[in-house]
């Protein structure tokens, strides 16, 4: 597993329609972990390293701030660069690994967001005004590694559970609108 910091910007990020790279910052991620690639600011004149670019094997980990959330995006275009607020976690590309030791990014992101992992980070967090988690602290977490097919299923269940959450919220909102409207119609009837 490699843990690398995101790309560090000097100064402000200014959108340039001609820019080559899109910048991903935590503020661009919605509350349910969604990102719209087209809305990320484009920048020019930067030369990020290969490991700064987000691909479908990367797990992004928010290093700064009160909560160290982890994300895995499977659908981003190949010019998205993570800002230095993140660490990028990736299985080493050319490392010879036993099948059992492979980590699936979806599984990894899910585990890092679990209360047990979060409590571990909480205890190791430093920083005076802005809280931050050091790279070696993140790396010291012991990660349970079930067989690959179990990881696959865990990450699918985690994904579907998030979908369930969103759908339920929308459904409740619509049902309230429906009943309120019905009631208003009722009291306006003679």
């Amino acid at each position: 597993m490699s843990i690398k910091p995101g790309f560090f910007f000097r100064g402000r990020i200014e959108h340039d329609p001609e820019g080559k790279f899109r910048i991903l910052q935590p503020s661009s991620i919605g509350s349910s972990g969604e990102v719209t690639a087209e809305e990320l600011p484009l920048v020019s004149d930067i030369s990020p390293r290969e490991y700064h670019v987000v691909d479908d094997r990367s797990v992004l980990f928010v290093a700064y701030g009160p909560r160290n959330r982890a994300y895995h995006f499977g659908h981003l275009p190949d010019n998205v660069v993570a800002s230095s607020t993140f660490y990028l976690l990736r299985p080493r590309p050319r490392q010879l690994v036993l099948r059992e030791e492979v980590v699936l990014p979806g599984y990894l992101a899910w585990y890092l967001n679990q209360p047990i992992a979060q409590a571990y980070f909480e205890a190791l967090r430093g920083g005076v005004s802005v809280k931050m988690l050091r790279r070696d602290a993140l790396g010291s977490l012991e990660l349970p590694l079930p067989p690959l097919e179990v990881q696959e299923k865990v990450s699918e269940v985690a994904r579907l559970s998030e979908v369930e959450h969103q759908l339920t919220r929308q459904l409740l909102k619509m049902r309230r609108l429906f009943t309120d409207t019905l009631l208003l119609e009722r009291i306006h009837q003679p």
Partner: protein, 522 residues
């Protein structure tokens, strides 16, 4: 645009701040940067004049000296930016050398610059660090300001006005950036330039008028009002002729902000400005024959609801500012500034434009009584509600109040401009079209006796209506902006509910499938 473009200058200025960023507080280093800019400007304009004179008079040294002494300002031998940079760059006492050069410039230009450099110390260990670090910073400042983009003597428009505009705007740009970056801390109550412009257009300065800002800050609001006379807005005031005939007066309590105002006036070629230091409420400095100075335009963005505004100092106010309309409450200074402004209005032509928090429109008690008295004196002309988030350091929405003397009717215009703004970025901004809409509505109200209202935007209220509302000026009482909601299509909602339920069922089935495969209960 004359010479190098404004953006380039602004960027060069902003990057000069990198020298300090992170190690020195913006509230501290902004003064250093702005003083350097001022110094560089003086040095460049001086160098250019000298060059021009040399081209004209060859080596007639006496004549050249004599001509230079008659310039707008004098730069004594050995005090220019370039001289100090080239001769003292590596001195251990660099900071001291800068202090001395600035002091000499101030002494040679007493009338315009007295006291301007008194509060700035380039040798200050608490502000700039120990000798080594301090000298490193100074050197790096010299390098930053040696950037070709900041070579002001290379301007193609060599008129002083063209140059002063560009530098002056660069200066205002920095002040606004400090204000937006650090909230109140770096740019105490800086008025965003669009709001200044709006006030300038509403107050419509005329040739020969006095412009007075009793809480002048860095002076940008007063300068913007004066600029409306120098370069009138042709679209909104098509018949107005440009004029240089005006006088700016101001007072500022914060000593280093006062120095910024003096420099800002100088940079904008407003040489005759009279800017005093001190507290406007407890110690008004601008007077004529022991009375308060009277101005045609009194404009200000006073601190919002200042707690310690000097209540104790004005119980026996020799200027009787709080006698006629009442004494403001001890803990909120809004009406103290407002009444000072009202008392500074000239008879017949006087008008006041002031930015206030909304509480001023409706708070009761002593403030309610003052409000009633002002309305009964028929001074209030307009109430304009602005969008929230326009000001640096506070998100609260503010309002503009316009008062004027010699009103012939008792009506008051209410405008609800709170929904017209550009909300891209962290700060909301008034766009040109938003300013135009407010000004055009205000002009229609002033010029057309039949003006009544603009649907969901503006309303002309009669004195009787305002009194019916107990002199409460809260804008929603007068401008109805209620938008009925779109009727809900029940059938469409029912369909959406069904679709969501189906999707939810699918998701749960899949989810349970995986759980089963993992040997878990569902």
């Amino acid at each position: 645009m004359p010479g190098p473009d404004q953006d380039k200058i602004n960027n060069a200025l902003w990057s000069a701040c990198d020298t300090f960023r992170g190690t020195v507080d913006p509230a501290q280093y902004k003064d250093y940067i702005l003083v350097f800019l001022f110094w560089k400007y003086l040095s460049d304009i001086h160098a250019r004049h000298e060059r021009e004179l040399r081209e004209k008079y060859g080596d007639n040294e006496t004549l050249i000296r004599r001509k230079l002494e008659r310039d707008r300002f004098v730069l004594p031998e050995g005090t220019s930016f370039y001289y100090v940079r080239d001769e003292h760059r590596n001195d251990a006492e660099l900071g001291d050398k800068i202090n001395k050069a600035l002091q000499a410039i101030e002494d040679a230009n007493k009338q315009k610059l007295e006291g301007v450099f008194r509060n700035i110390d380039f040798n200050s260990e608490p502000n700039l660090g120990e000798t080594k670090a301090r000298n490193r910073r100074m050197k790096s400042l010299f390098d930053d300001f040696s950037d070709p983009a900041l070579n002001f003597s290379a301007f193609t428009d060599t008129s002083d006005t063209g140059m002063a505009d560009v530098i002056g705007d660069g200066y205002m740009y920095l002040i606004s950036r400090f204000a937006s970056d650090s909230g109140k801390k770096g740019g105490e109550f800086y008025t965003p330039k669009e709001v200044s412009k709006l006030l300038a257009l509403l107050l419509d300065p005329q040739p020969g008028e006095r412009i007075y800002d009793p809480t002048i800050g860095s002076g940008s609001l007063a300068i913007t009002v004066a600029d409306e006379l120098r370069h009138p807005d042709k679209e909104l005031h098509p018949d107005k002729k440009s004029s240089n005939d005006f006088a700016i007066y101001g007072q500022e309590n914060n000593r280093s902000t006062w120095a910024l105002a003096k420099m800002n006036m100088f940079l904008h070629n407003v040489d005759g400005a009279q800017i005093e230091a001190g507290d406007t409420i407890s110690d008004p400095k601008l007077k004529e024959a022991d009375q308060l100075l009277k101005a045609d335009i009194v404009v200000a963005n006073p601190p919002f609801s200042l707690k310690k505004w000097g209540y104790g100092d004005v119980q026996k106010d020799p200027f009787k500012r709080f006698t006629k309309h009442g004494m403001p409450p001890k803990s909120k200074g809004d009406f103290a500034f407002l009444l000072h402004m009202i008392a500074s209005m000239k008879e017949a032509t006087g008008r006041v434009g002031v930015i206030v928090p909304h509480g001023v429109l409706f708070r009761g008690g002593a403030e309610g009584k003052i409000r009633r008295s002002l309305i009964e004196a028929n001074l209030l002309q307009a109430v304009i509600g602005l969008p929230e988030g326009l000001f640096y350091g506070t998100g609260i929405p503010a309002a503009i109040l316009i008062f004027r003397k010699g009103r012939e009717h008792g009506d008051v215009l209410f405008i609800d401009a709170s929904r017209d703004f550009d909300d891209r970025g962290t700060q909301n901004v008034l766009r040109r079209q938003d300013i135009k809409r407010i000004v055009e509505t205000y002009q229609a109200y002033e010029r057309d006796p039949d003006f009544e209202m603009v649907e969901k935007y503006a309303y002309k209220a009669s004195r009787a209506e305002i009194e019916e509302n107990d002199c409460n000026l809260n804008i929603p009482r007068y401008v109805d902006t209620f938008e009925p909601e779109e009727p809900v299509d029940l059938e469409a909602v029912a369909i959406m509910i069904r679709e969501l339920e189906e999707k939810l069922g699918d998701t749960r089935r899949k989810l349970n499938g995986y759980l089963q495969e993992l040997g878990l209960p569902t």
